[in-house]
């Protein structure tokens, strides 16, 4: 059973291979759709489908009259997996637990632009807790949630489910931004992770939106070595 790939797929793969291997370089011009129809003995729609896919993937640039050229090397953007912590810990075969440290409903601090940006004049829910894998502390979490956007979270029980998992089930975000860096463990929470103050930690600060509405602002701080992010580019 040798699967016969679709013709548009074969055309796409062939041209993609020529670009990735370097036989076709940025700026090189490709044959027109009319010429490719003759090469592959097919209709224009079929050629167009292959070229449009490559154009959508950023490998080609197409302009009327000017024709189709190989795109300049794209910015190095990679796909980054940011798994839900409970899922990731379970995948490793460890027991996951979230321990709530404290929670508070209050207005945004007017002198904290991040809080004002999140909650505006409304209330926010402020939550802190620790993520454990097999009862070993893995990350400290400090989260702010807009109660205007998610009023029903005021009643959620975070001893059962981490706030992040709760949010994902109830109002998944449509947009997110993560800032990833390193920080030294802060005195206020170093001991919660069994660390000395200043010990190296991986910090992920995430903002999420649902459409226009700001949902949450969370900062997770991981014990160095307890968690790694992986970003990939290219074939699986």
């Amino acid at each position: 059973m040798t699967r016969i790939p679709a013709l548009h797929d074969r055309i796409r793969t062939e041209i993609e291979g020529q670009i990735l291997s370097g036989r076709l370089k940025p700026g090189d011009r490709l044959p027109s759709e009319l010429e490719l129809m003759a090469v592959y003995q097919c209709s224009r729609m079929t050629v167009s489908k292959a070229l449009s896919a490559l154009s959508g993937a950023g490998l080609l640039q197409r302009r009327k009259r000017a024709g189709t050229v190989v795109a300049p090397r794209p910015a190095e953007t990679m796909v980054l997996d940011i798994p839900d912590l409970a899922v990731e810990v379970a995948r490793r075969g460890q027991a996951y637990r979230f321990r709530l440290i404290d929670r508070e409903v209050r207005a945004a601090h007017a002198d904290d632009p991040r809080e004002v940006g999140l909650a505006g004049a409304g209330q926010l829910l402020f939550v802190r807790g620790v993520h454990y894998a097999d009862e070993v502390p893995m990350a400290f979490e400090e989260r702010r949630i807009s109660l205007e956007a998610v009023p029903e979270i005021a009643a959620a029980d975070f001893s059962v489910e981490a706030p992040g998992s709760w949010l994902l089930r109830h109002i998944p975000w449509t947009e997110a931004e993560n800032r990833i860096g390193a920080v030294g463990a802060h005195e206020a929470w170093a001991s919660l992770l069994n660390l000395a103050p200043g010990a190296p930690c991986l910090s992920i600060e995430r903002r999420t939106w649902r459409g226009e509405a700001r949902i949450t602002l969370v900062r997770q701080t991981f014990v160095a070595g307890a968690f790694e992010l992986v970003a990939r580019f290219g074939a699986a």
Copy 2:
């Protein structure tokens, strides 16, 4: 000049909006192509183009006979920008410099599986250096390059150009994998970054390939706060 969007684009946007807003939930079934043809008064190819795009983006799942359903919430994969350091520093309006610490051509250490995986029985080029922004040390880099894959790099002058920039110009990778974590500054290079040993650093370890060939293995260690990675998902 109100740009009239293409019909297939309008169909795609409408359905996409219904999914992202939650009016259509994972598992919900969409009308068949035949039904959508009637709704939008268009041909099947036009409907198909819209649905195929959404299927390719992971928002829909399509199966013959079973029809088209909204896909389960996709894994949270984000787009991560990993800029070339020289480019990133220039973008900030700072002066970039790479300082070569040492370089060495040798065989892979048989007891280091990462080196053996990179160079096999062949030679590798081992390079260490520091990246500066406005003469302030920003990152320490330790890089291994397969000389079998890139013999011409043996003659490159790294006082002029960082190894990473040289590689990008000469043999851009087609696949890459990055592991991002936090580490404490190592005694061997902490002083090069004006850090005390153990001070928090952001670590990026990158492997690259060109097709099947392994190109390089590099670990860059950034002074905490000197560099942040940003990952985004959703609309720009």
